[in-house]
Amino acid sequence: MAKRDYISLLIFALLILCFPVFVQDNYILTVTIFAAINSLVALGLTILMGYAGQISLGQAGFYGIGAYISAILSLNFGLPVVFSMFLSVIVSALISILLAIPALRLKGHYLAVATLGFGEIIYVILNEWGPGGPSGFGDIPQFSFLGYTMSTLTEYFYLSWFFVGLCMIFSMNLINSMAGKALKSIHDSETASVCIGINVSKLKIKVFVLSAIFASLAGCIYAHFVTFLSPSTFSLHYSILVLMMVIIGGMRSLWGAVVGALIITFLPEALRGFKEYDILVYGIVLTLSLLFLRNGIVPLIEDLFRKKA
């Protein structure tokens, strides 16, 4: 990993450790926990889009699969939460491989629609056959590890951001490794990559599976945090939201996923005061940021720093 990465991780760790010490407001803590969960999904999508150049409008599908499977295994089958989460992520990974093999032969709008179709099918399945159907179900066990059950917001704050940090380290390693360089090559030109001998399709599938794993992990955390699930959380609307997070934060930047997630998660809270105008303001804010912040916020800030140096 580059020196830059170590520094950024250190700053990140410090911020996370200190935050609950200074911020006791349960409301803000809850929002940041949701932001952490969203960051995970966004991180996976960033690698998929920004580095492998593939689009997905179906991340909500994996988010939902992760949440539901972990919830069902721990609630109905009595499995320990950590084990349920692990199994859930494995299942999501397997499903993503099944989807990736045919889907990643497609490009551009076709891939977008294929992933959209997948996400919608998952939604219909959850709505039709999930426990409780459209009404959802609750009493999902909280996260517990080695006998200790987490129940306070501070605990969930550390838990969720811990996972973000973990996945961030993993992602940084990936990007900086040979695989990462191969990915960048694919993004720039698939044809050229094939010429140099990179197994393009295998790599694309691996990254797709990675994004699915991150999304389903996020879903698991969501399930055991909110302890109530209903299909409406896992709709196309969410997939689009995640896409927004990636674009606004910066598609080519890993930290962009976190920044984008923080912004998009906090934005509705900031807009609470607008009442009826909030959808309108939301749309205006999004449109303007896309028009003027084309590469995303993090690259913009990085550029500013570079210019100063």
Partner: protein, 302 residues
């Protein structure tokens, strides 16, 4: 009625139901294609123009009590203007960047904006107005089809004919087709590409609005119906072959009828899933769609 007669009327009823939905999907698909053909962008705000058509028509016809044709003209004018604004303000500045992802996101952002505007103006209630012609539904072999549905289907086919004439017989239409085939060559031939792009947004906004105007008496219209219409229209376009208007029509009706037959003969809870599965199957085995072909994707004829 004998058993087979009942079977027939039931089947026909399912069919008519599918045709209703299918006509809407087809119209949305056609408008998506028009923009796609001249810009390679899928306008994910297309559904909002349909909603605008329905709500706008209500506003002029019922709220302001203006005569039918005037309301119609005013509504499509408003839609055209909004389409124009969208193109000028959000598409033109970005199109040179040629980043597909960014363009998709911008259209999504605009769809949210438009939805917000519509909610602000009309609230969340559903709206409707009287069908174009009052009268009893028509009975065909025991199945009923309301007159408004016939209007919707009629309008769909008339629009297809009109568009066909436009794109094949008029100079402007041919210029638009040239743009879709090869933008550089078109520019070299003296065609003002940016004006063509603007025109394509305006035309698809109008078509969208017309669809909305036609279906509102049957389906009612509310501020948030846009998203699902866009998704279904997009599905229809892909099924039939992205970029071909024949494809959008076929895809739209196929989608509508399939949903209806699934609901009718299998289980109404899974009709959406079946339609989506069909979409995935088409994408995985013949992404060019039913009427597209790999070469056509590159050439992108209408």
């Amino acid at each position: 009625m004998g058993d087979t007669e009942i079977e027939l009327s039931v089947f026909l009823q399912f069919l008519f139901s599918g045709l209703t939905a299918g006509a809407v999907y087809a119209l949305v698909g056609i408008s998506l294609n028009i923009v796609y053909n001249s810009t390679s962008i899928i306008n994910l705000a297309q559904g909002e123009f349909v909603v605008l058509g329905g709500l706008g028509m209500w506003y002029f016809l019922e709220h302001l009590q203006l005569p039918f044709f005037l309301s119609f003209l005013l509504t499509i004018t408003v839609a055209a203007l909004l389409g124009l604004l969208m193109e000028r303000l959000t598409i033109r500045p970005l199109i040179k960047k040629a980043n597909l992802l960014l363009m998709i996101m911008v259209t999504i952002a605009v769809s949210i904006l438009l939805k917000g505007l519509l909610m602000f103006k009309f609230g969340k209630d559903p709206y409707a107005y009287a069908p174009f012609t009052e009268g009893e539904p028509i009975n065909i072999f025991g199945a009923v089809i309301s007159q408004q549905i016939l209007w919707v289907i009629g309008i769909t086919f008339s629009l297809i004919l009109l568009l066909n004439l436009f794109f094949n017989k008029t100079l402007l239409g041919k210029a638009m087709r040239a743009c879709s085939l090869d933008t550089k060559a078109a520019r070299l031939m003296g065609i003002n590409v940016s004006r063509i792009v603007m025109l394509s947004f305006v035309i698809s906004a109008i078509i969208g609005a017309v669809a909305g105007i036609a279906i509102t008496p049957i389906t009612l219209m509310e501020y948030d119906k846009g998203a699902i219409l866009t998704v279904k229209g997009f599905t229809a376009a892909i099924l039939g072959g992205l970029g071909t208007s024949k494809g959008a029509v076929f895809g739209g009706f196929l989608l509508g009828i399939l949903e209806s037959l699934t609901a009718g003969y299998i289980h109404s809870g899974i009709k959406d899933a079946v339609a989506l599965l069909l979409l995935l199957i088409v994408l995985f085995f013949k992404p060019a769609g039913i009427f597209g072909s790999k070469e056509v994707i590159k050439l992108r004829k209408l």
